[in-house]
Symmetry: C2
Subunit: 345 residues, 2 copies
């Protein structure tokens, strides 16, 4: 019978604790605790503790620590529209940033149309001890419903600065790029298929649209508002009077643009010969829409990262360093020189 090595023993029976580590290192458990907290130790002891930890394969017990400190290494994330592309990417980025910082993201999916479920979610957050909370891609409505001030933990909301009409910064918004791109091609009559006005992101895109229109002396033939998906794009086209024959349709999302393309196809309107269409978001599939969709690729994951980071910073943990997400225009075949435009159909 060969004796088990010390590692295996501690590993399987019961995982090593600071007490077993302390015993092996010949110090008190508190010294081990201090090592964990990064406080200063006498070099000799530090070395011994390190060796003991390695030998016993020590892992800190997150629950015990959480119980003692009343702090956890978990971040709650309020998520709403998990089906849409952008929020998903934001979430992915947030999850990644959290993991890098040694936190786990507890995802709490909430149906914004179901008021009691929103309340449940908030109280659930309060119940379990969390390091903080992040709110991913919220519309104003859910933000209002959440009443975040109820949260007893620090929180961060993923949000861009609010742009209003006439705000210079609107020209810096990535959405302005695609409008300018169309203007550069010679378009003068635009139509905006927008997202839900309850979303700041949709309003900002609209603001950027208006700003470019105004600054460059162009004409807007209309602005619609709807959901983010393809159905909304289709809906917008079929219900809006296009009597001013716009030559460029700028949509607030790629999926929305898909619905627009579908409607145009259905009505025998050629893209980009008759009318140009642009999307926004930069989803991968957009390259395979017919025709391939001009869009602006946005680094949504970075926005998620930033939200988590700013939460950690505001809690005094983690270092700052917020990179601004930039959009990158991807010009494809769905935009070209102005055509005849759409009139009556």
């Amino acid at each position: 019978m060969t004796p088990a090595t010390q590692v295996d023993q501690a590993d399987w029976d019961h995982p090593a604790t600071i007490y077993t580590v302390a015993e092996r290192a010949g110090v008190s458990h508190q010294t081990v605790s201090r090592y964990l907290k990064g406080e200063s130790l006498r070099p000799r002891n530090r070395e011994r503790v390190e060796q003991a930890m390695k030998a016993l394969n020590y892992r800190v017990n997150a629950e015990a620590r959480a119980l003692a400190t009343k702090k956890s290494h978990r971040i709650g994330a309020f998520v709403f529209d998990i089906d849409d592309w952008a929020p998903q990417r934001v979430l992915a980025g947030a999850a990644e940033a959290a993991r890098e910082a040694g936190y786990i993201l507890d995802i709490l999916r909430v149906d914004p149309t179901d008021a009691p479920s929103v309340d449940d979610a908030v109280s659930l957050m309060n119940r379990t001890t969390l390091a903080g909370a992040v709110v991913i891609s919220p519309s104003d409505t859910v933000l209002k419903q959440l009443r975040l001030e109820r949260l007893k933990v620090p929180y961060a909301v993923e949000a861009e600065p609010v742009l209003t009409d006439g705000d210079d910064r609107a020209l810096q918004h990535p959405f302005a790029q695609v409008v300018s791109h169309l203007a550069d091609l010679g378009h003068e009559r635009f139509f905006h298929v927008g997202g839900p006005r309850t979303w700041l992101t949709a309003r900002n895109r609209l603001a950027a649209y208006r700003e470019v229109i105004a600054r460059r002396g162009l004409r807007s033939c209309g602005e619609t508002a709807g959901e983010w998906g393809a159905a909304a794009g289709y809906e917008a086209m079929s219900s809006y009077p296009l009597d001013q024959a716009p030559t460029a349709i700028v949509t607030a999302s790629d999926q929305c643009a898909l619905g627009v393309l579908f409607w145009l196809q259905e009505h025998g309107i050629r893209v980009p010969d008759d009318v140009s269409v642009s999307g926004y978001d930069g989803i991968v599939d957009a390259a395979y829409y017919w025709p391939p969709l001009t869009t602006v690729a946005v680094d949504f994951a970075l926005m998620g990262r930033n939200t988590v980071r700013s939460l950690l910073v505001s809690s005094g943990l983690g270092e700052a360093g917020r990179e601004m997400p930039l959009g990158r225009l991807i010009a494809r075949a769905s935009t070209g020189r102005p055509g005849s435009g759409i009139s009556e159909v």
Copy 2:
């Protein structure tokens, strides 16, 4: 100065504990603990405890319980391709099932191409005490990388039964539906644009394809393998010799089908007049592809539910009851009676 109500007091200062509840109810803390565990109490005491809990807004402290029992009510979820549609839905289902069973799902997103991050994730899982772990939509490659045997907790992998050629159950696979649908329309020459062979799901779809082909005496003009996205579908079409003029192209995913449609469009091949195309998954956008895509809507969420359930069952917790996920054929304009097929292009 109005005195705060008892609720607010306990709520804000420090949350109620079983001790404060016990004191208020006039029993010992252990009686409260027994109430929590669902053991029997004298009716009078039960009532008192319940009242005290409500009055103090008591919530159990998950950390403390976990520390005492060495069990947690959290399930870790390894997630890889959060970008794709199917895994996303699976995850949502898993989260829901977990919540219903009183667990929360800790989502751990891992980049499978980044080996150290995989290791980090596993050790993070081991560090925190978890009830178990589930692996969402893994390919064989990541499964190998994970080396799940390292996990010290029970785990379940989301997986369908392995289908091999000649397996009767292959005909039950939802993918068989779409192939049969095309056969019913009169198609005899098929082409399969498949997913990555490292994925069981892709292999099973292939097996179902082959089985229908074999049983109904049809002909397969080719089988390709690639990623799940549109690019792979395009790639498959452009690189494979289609000298046998298939009249039906059955793809392993909707996104993949998008790439196929694009290629066909590019080459002036009409759908479904010349060739029929089908997808799989049932993503929402598919209704707005051109032409609208025939597909099979799969209840991926249910698969996630099943995975979590089977984890709980294998841990002796929770009851069995695994419903088989069914697919629902959605016939749209991309499939029709056989056309001339594709030959040389």
